[in-house]
Amino acid sequence: MSENSTSRKMLSLALLIAGAAGLAAALFMDFSGSGSPVRGPLLILGAVVFLFGLYLFPTVEHHRSIINFIFLFPLLFTFAVTVIIPLLLGVFYSFTDWNGIKFNQFVGFSNYTSMFKDPAFIWSILLTFLFVVFNIILVNLVGFSLALLCTSKLKGVNFFRASYFLPNLIGGIVLGYIWQFAFNNVLVQITAKTMGMQSSILSATNTAFAAIIVVYVWQYAGYIMLIYVTGLTTVPKDVLEASQIDGANAFTTLMKIKIPMIASTITICTFLTLTSAFKQFDVNMALTNGTGSVADFMGSYLTNGTQMLALNIYNTAISKNSYALGQAKAVFFFIVLACVSIIQVRISNSKEVEM
């Protein structure tokens, strides 16, 4: 037993030293600028060997703490590097003249003031707001109606549910191109025959915006429907039977029993639609890429008639290469979403108290 623990201690110490040496050597090569190709793999190897040595370290009282550290480390490390550090850097960069690689000076709030003087950006904000309002209403109405249909005693309900949900499986980019085909090649033939409309609805700003809403509702209503189905199945059967015995018709049952009883589901679905519609990017990019002319908005001619906020941020930074400005817009985007989330938490909490 003691021999075993001595050899284990030696192995642990050897691994700890080897790991630390590997890490030190790799970092030394980094700082000295040697450019050796082994330094990257050596860094990873050193860290893994070090953690393994730590794991083998023979201690009874601290073993649990060591395991806690090793178990938390991978996720916390990736989380810090991909979310926390970029978030802090991002807020910092939005106050500088950052160009995606380096920054020269602080510019205070000038990124923030200049973005609110840009009519194209204001247009994107208003358009996103409009898009969110339309979708909260339409997605929830359609989703709820489909949920009622799917919880009724019809034949083929399972098929209906699966086919309404199917659009959710496909990524926005692929969907966007499929619908572009449907609008530009199929719908045009129909409208040309029936109404004499020769151009696609994607070519005019207003109808193109409507098209994005149609595609979004088509995709998202099936998902919201599923959540409403789950909510509706929690309504107790005896309550529904009691109301029927008392002579309530289907409409009264819906308004007086079903809807009040799934109020928390309605809150969830409203906020899910809100945040998801607010962040809409893929379909916007694939369907119109934000194009569309606006003759006169705040005294200027716009070419980004269907460009919503997320796409505006992307284009500002990636296409127009204004990284600091794009980052400032993104911080604004984040603040709006954070406020919405806080309101949601408040509402959900107050609902729970009532119940």
Partner: protein, 286 residues
Amino acid sequence: MEMKKSRKIILTVVGIIVAIYTLFPFYLVVMNTFKNANNIVADPVGFGGVSVSQLMANLSAVVNNSNFNFWYAFGTSAVITILSLVLLALFGGMAAWVICRNKTKWSTVIYMTFIASMIIPFQVVMLPLISTFRDVGQFVGLSLLQSIPGIVFAYCGFGGAMTVFILTGFIKGIPYELEEAAAIDGCSPEGTFFRIIFPLLAPVITTVTILNGMWIWNDYLLPSLMLGQNGKVKTLPVAVQAFVGSYVKQWDLILTAALLAIIPMVIIFIVAQKQIMNGMVEGAIK
């Protein structure tokens, strides 16, 4: 509750009409991959010009297209998704267990940070993320941007919060007595986790894997920024976008590419329909 027969018929008809509407774009894709470019433009809805040999011709044109490189993109997407899902389940389970079973100030802080971070939109971190990955990668001599490990690393970071959130909720419901009994029998803490807790997590790990899998497989923005539009490594959505960008209006090739991108998800959906739909709902309600 009995329904009148006439109402039943009306509702069924409405249901079928909506189903036709939701499935119509899929019909368009499937139907038109059987046609050549001229027939697609002339008759996009009907059966004019449909032939199996044309489907084969379209498929081979897309698969052998050096710009699209279908199998390579498919493999890249599959490797990225599977690796990310395995690591997220493993690391997420480990972290959630430690957070749940150690009621210290630190575990609460870490948990709250994870929860709060779920409201952070990708747009606010994407630009600094790219520059950080580029700078750190150059400094330590690892290619983080145009590489599969780099993307998997990023997905572990972005998916971590939601994974820990859902798993923690589940672990709370596992009786602590199980772990105490294991400890009395001489089981080490890591043994307790891997032999007792982790197997018990199976149902909730299915949920988490479905949620993360749908997101990672379909994600466009992160891989397009990290890999670049014209880089060597491409995921399926990035490849489709690049392909469409270079072939404006070549609908025979574009729709065949779309079909190839859709098929894997549809097959998985048909096999695991119930789990996917339940998983999506659970993820939303929690």
